[in-house]
Each structure stands twice: as C-alpha cells, then as structure tokens.
Symmetry: C2
Subunit: 415 residues, 2 copies
C-alpha cells in the first residue's frame, strides 16, 4: 500500500488486514495499540490483546525524518529495509538470537515482529547489578555466526558482494562516522560534556597521536567491507533475561569491520564497570559486579574467538583463501597461523574501534544512561575520567594487543 504514517488506530487495522499477522490474535476485536518508541528515529507500537495479553506484536515504522528533531531533518525511510533484512538474516545465520519477523512491507517502511514480553533492555539491569550468566555464551554465538557467515571466509566473492550491495546504508553510516569518529574530538555544536572534565576533553581534542589513531580507525570503519555488522550494538540494542538474549534494532547494518560490533559491546561493558564507582558505594558489592563484568568481557572474547575459529575450520568455503591454498607440506599449520593472526587482528580492531564508542560518549552528542544517570557531578566526573583514560589507552595501544587480557589489564589499571 502507499506510504502513510500510522497511529494507534490505523496500526491495528494494518495488522488485522494481513492474514499472516492477524493470525496471532484469537480475539481481534480486543487488540489495542500503544506507542512506545523512544522517539529518536521510529514509531514503535505494541499491539496486544486485552482478552489474551500473551498475544502481542511489535510494529515498527520509519518516518521520513529524524523524529527527535522533527520534519526539518529528513532521513531516508530505507533504514527499515536494512533492519528487516538484517533481522531475517540473523534468523537464518544465528537462529533464536533476534526477534522473529512476521511481516515486512517496504513501501510502508514497516516491520511486524515478535514482542519480547519476557526480556528487558540490558543497560538498566546492568546498572542495577543484575547478572546474565548466559549472555556471553549467547552473544558470542550470534557474533561468530553472523560475522563469519557474511564474510569472504565463508561466502563466495559473488554471494558476498551481492549481499553487500543490499546493505549500502549511507545515511545511517554517516551518523556513526560523524558522531563516533569525528565530531566529539573537535568543536561541534551538538557536543556536550560535564563541565568538571573540560581539561580532560581539551586534552583529548589536542592529543595528536590519539587523533591520528582515531583517523585510522575511522578509515577502517568507512572502507573495510569485511562482514555484515550491526553497527550500533551497545547494551541498549540487546534484550536479555537470565535464560535468553536477543539482538534488536539493526537499522545501522552495513558491511564494515567485524571488530566494531564486538567493540561496541566491550566498551559499553567497560563504561558500566566504571559507572559503579558512583552507583555502588559498597565496595564488596561493587567489586563483585565489576568482577562479573570483567569475566563477561573475557568470556565474550574467548568464546567468540573459539566459535569463530571452529566455524572456519568446519566450513572453510569462502573464496578469500581457498582450501587448496593450504594443501602443501606444513600447510595445515600455516592455515592455523593464518586463522590465529586473522582473529588477533579482530581483537585489535575490537578494542580500537570500541574505544571510540566509549570515548565519544564522554564528550559528544549523547552519553550512556550508566554514566548520565549519576547525579553527583563530581562522582560522575570521576567515572568519566576513568573511561577517558581506558578509551585513550585502548586506542593508542590496541595494535600491540596479543590477547583479551591486554585490554582488561588496562581497565583494572585505570580504576
């Protein structure tokens, strides 16, 4: 149908008019909608049956402008296509780790998907020191499968380039390019920071080695089409409960460097770690939670690396380096060395790229709730300084990292 912006009335009609989505409700007349979008980008409706409240769906619709600003900031509705394509691909490559898509209509920029009634967005429970013991296991499965299976290590050159051509996403890439890799480190009107850390912010903006390294990382982000990345994988894009983990909101998806996704998670866990110096006064409680976070980061990397390598050994079907290339005396060890070096480079990219995510949160357009919710400005500044120190060292030192311990050691050294 022709594009029109839905409201809480028309969205119900829309869903009930489609046999596929209507079939989720035994009592169609009881379906009510409410809008729950955070208002940044999209309309998000929950449709729920009043008779059978377990029957519920999410409808997400893109509007043709940046919602947080208004119609004066146009933004292509195409982002919903990237989100739908990515979610459907996740279901193929890493089943059960994203919400199921029940319908997608390109003309309407609408995705109808599973309502995760028993999950919560991960960021706030982490501030409340909740633990998710299966998170590293689940997320590493997601990352290893999606990244490996959309890369030249698994796909033929033709299949990879075909997939890549369906994820050319310049408008949303530009948001990350500007707001993660450039504007926070220079004068830009939207930048904000805690006045107490002005000295540290100025030091970052004048640190030549740091800015040269960030420029190189930005080039990697802009030019290295290594695999399909989510490209906004912070702890607000992950829904969890103790038993289950789901990746949401992949509208920024495009073919970029693998490390960016793993790094976004790592740097958000690191920011949460530091935020507890303010949130959690009790040293024992704080140390227990921080220990859990370090263990999670360590497990996330080690499980990712293990699973990525195992997938590669099991299905070395890509054309980047054909199997035959390693068929010579000693070739098996050479292939093992190649995998080891390749995965080590992902590790380095993870902390280099990821650190730009945490650094920008201290001095750019938006902070993270973990830190922004610290009301005492001094306490907040003290957390922010720690995050700036870790991020700076990750950026300056990542190319020498040999294992995840090199990154974690910096976290514990900069408390």
């Amino acid at each position: 149908m022709e594009y029109q912006i839905l409201d809480t009335t028309t969205v119900v009609a829309y869903v009930l008019n489609n046999a596929e989505t209507a079939s989720h409700f035994r009592d169609p007349l009881s379906v009510k909608a409410r809008e729950i979008g955070d208002g940044n980008l999209n309309l998000v409706f929950i449709l729920q049956s009043e008779t059978f409240p377990q029957e519920a769906l999410i409808v997400k619709q893109a509007v043709p402008y940046l919602r947080v600003v208004g119609e004066s900031w146009p933004l292509s509705r195409e982002r919903m296509r990237f989100e739908a394509q990515a979610l459907m691909l996740y279901e193929q490559l890493a089943p059960g780790l994203a919400p199921k898509v029940f319908a997608y209509e390109e003309a309407m920029s609408i995705v109808v998907m599973e309502y995760l009634i028993e999950h919560q967005v991960m960021r706030q429970p982490l501030v409340a020191r909740q633990k998710f013991p299966l998170f590293a296991e689940h997320l590493s499965t997601f990352l290893a499968n999606v990244l490996f299976k959309t890369s030249d290590l698994y796909l033929t050159g033709l299949a990879k380039k075909d997939l890549q051509s369906r994820f050319i996403n310049p408008h949303l890439c530009k948001i990350q390019e500007d707001f993660v890799f450039s504007n926070p480190y220079m004068e830009s009107p939207e930048n904000k920071h805690n006045p107490l850390i002005t000295d540290e912010v100025s030091a970052v903006r004048q640190n030549v080695e740091l800015k040269l390294a960030i420029a190189n990382l930005k080039e990697k982000f802009m030019t290295q089409g290594q695999a399909l990345i989510h490209s906004d994988l912070h702890t607000g894009s992950i829904m969890v409960n103790p038993a289950d983990t789901r990746i949401i909101d992949p509208e920024f998806s495009f073919f970029g460097p693998m490390g960016y996704d793993i790094g976004a998670v790592m740097s958000n866990l690191m920011m949460n770690y530091m935020s507890h110096f303010a949130h959690t006064a009790d040293a024992e409680q704080r140390e227990a939670h921080q220990g859990y976070l370090l263990d999670t980061m360590r497990s996330l990397w080690n499980l990712f690396a293990f699973k990525f390598d195992a997938l590669w050994v099991r299905a070395n079907t890509g054309e980047l380096v054909p199997e035959l290339y390693w068929q010579f005396e000693g070739g098996e060890q050479a292939f093992a060395r190649y995998r080891e070096r390749y995965i080590r480079q992902i590790l380095r990219d993870t902390f280099g790229l990821g650190a730009c995510e945490s650094l920008r949160r201290m001095m750019g357009l938006v902070t993270v709730w973990d830190v922004g919710s610290i009301e005492n400005a001094e306490a907040r500044a003290s957390v922010e300084r720690r995050i700036i120190r870790v991020s700076t060292r990750w950026i300056l030192e990542h190319e020498s990292f040999m294992s995840v311990e090199d990154a974690l050691r910096i976290v514990t050294e900069e408390v």
Copy 2:
C-alpha cells in the same frame, strides 16, 4: 535497441544510425569496419573512412561469454557499463588522459569511443627500449586525481557510497581475486610455468610467510573500498606516444585499495626491467634502458605522492577527517603527519599488492609479453627467477618501506 552481437557490417549501420556518432564522418558511405579485439573478452571494431582516413572511431561491444573460451563460459555483459562509467568519470576527474566516449548504450553493451590513431599500447615499445619521457608526469596526474577524488578524502560519505554502489563488479573482481591472489600459488589446472623454474615455483607455493602475506593482501583487495581503481592497470592498458598518455580498458573498475593500480604499473615496469637481461645483450644499452625504467618508477611514485598531497591540501573536502578536526594548537602539523602516514601506507600497499601481479605472471594463467617473448628457455628462466625474487621481497618487506627507494633498492639487489 535489443541486444544483438554486431559484425563488421552491422556495426557500421549502428554507428551511422546515431546522429552523434555519424557526425564524425563526412563521407558515411566510405566507412568500413574491421575487428581488432585480442579476443579475450570483447568485440573491438575500428570504423574508418576510406575517403578521409583520419576519421575513425572505436566500437567496443561485450559479448555474454568469455570470448577466449567461448559460449560455454558465460560472463556478464555488465562489464561494458563499468568501462563506460569509468571512462566518463576519468574525463571529468583527469581530463585528456583516457579515450573520449562518444556514445554508450547499456542495452547493447556498446561504447563508441575515440580511436587513438597516434598511440601504441605501451608494453611492446618498452621491450623495444623506447622511452616515454612524459609518461610518469601524465600517469601520476591520472592516478592522483582519480584516486583522490573518488575517495573519502575528497567526497562526502553519501557521494562516495553512491558512486561505489555503481561500481559493484563481482564478476570481474573474481578474475583478479582468483588469478592474481590465489590460484598461482596453489595447484590449479590453468597454471603454467617454464619447466626450468619448477623449483622456484614450488618454493613459492610452500613459503608460509609469503602465503600469509599474500592472503592479507588479498583481503585488502577484497574488502578495502578506498577509491575507484582501474584494477587492471598493466602496461597493456596504457596507450602512449612521446607526447601523450591514455588509460584504456577500465572494465575491471571497482572500489578497492589505491595501491593496487600504482602497484600494477610498478610491477610491470619491474618485469620489463628484468626482461632486458634477455632482450638486450649490449650492456650499455641495457643499463641505459633499465636506468630509464628505475627513474620512471621513482618519478611516478614521487610525482604521484606530491600531487596527491597537493590535491588534498587544496581540497580537503572529504568527510573521512573534516578540516575542523585539525583546528587546534599544532593541528596543522598533525594534519601534515596524517597525510604523510596515509601516503606512506599507499606506498606500502603499492609494492605489496603490485608484487602479487608480477609473481602471478611467473606461475599463473598468463605471463606478460615482455617475458613470454623470450624464446630461449634458459634466458627466460633467468629473468623469471629475478622477478620471483623481487616480488617475494616486495611482498615480505613492503610493510617496512619508508620511501620508494626501499622498493627500488630491492630491484637493483636482485639482478
């Protein structure tokens, strides 16, 4: 019109039916066509007036299969679109350095272009020790302009990704991926080499460090969308005379690493250099020509680097690193350091990627005429061994190169 394969009769009618192309001929009835394609990929016709022989055009048409093999090897006709797009872009970005395009019809996979009546393909005159004193000057202008102005250093993110999306060229990329970066270094049925160098070929195929480095270079080729590259810029894709230089045959064009184009030229000049140990018995003549080739390589790099840097300083309009990013005390020097490091990385990529081009010519599907035309198998083997040694060292050592002298020194050490 609907696609049909042209012959020497129908091609004349095609050109005369189009007012734009017909206008090149004062005496249409005198126009005759002959087919001059080398038979690998496309039909290439020269249309020339018998009354006014200066009036001539080239018509290039893609057939839907690999012509050298036949209809059993299908190959997308889309390659002619990439060639036409690239030639038209060259005319905008580096005027006068490619043949002019007079007409392009996508449905017919046809480009009608300028006939370079006073030029010759560069490869054979170089074997005959001809010199082209303006070549480095012209080619460096071409490379600096095309590479800079299609990169994120000059274009906005949106403009660059839009252009990139028009050059997704998986079929022709696959030819280079397979035949430059993989197959020559493993068992593959199409590989050929001089039986006298079997030991050296085996050594390459079992050299673990070398193969790891080639795998990294291949990843760069497959994933780094840095700028629009020609991607087949050997000395057979360049037409020259003492006064003028033109780049032809850009059907392999796509967004890849800048160094691949410069490196293809460098490695072909290096192969020509080595070939004269067989072609030119007279030591004085040989050394003079080899000196000319080294000077050309040196000038090509130095002029390229100088012009690329000058373009960048003059038009730092890209979004990779905005001008404002360098606006702080000491920022000007920081920007200079960034440019220096960026260009040094292009230098390293040039010799790393370029060396794969020369190495594969010794043991893959096709040699180069410079070497293949050496009839004496011993003399040829001696040339080939030198080329293998230089290529191997370029691949293993390129990441430590600080200037073009580091690459040229290896050439003179491996004679």
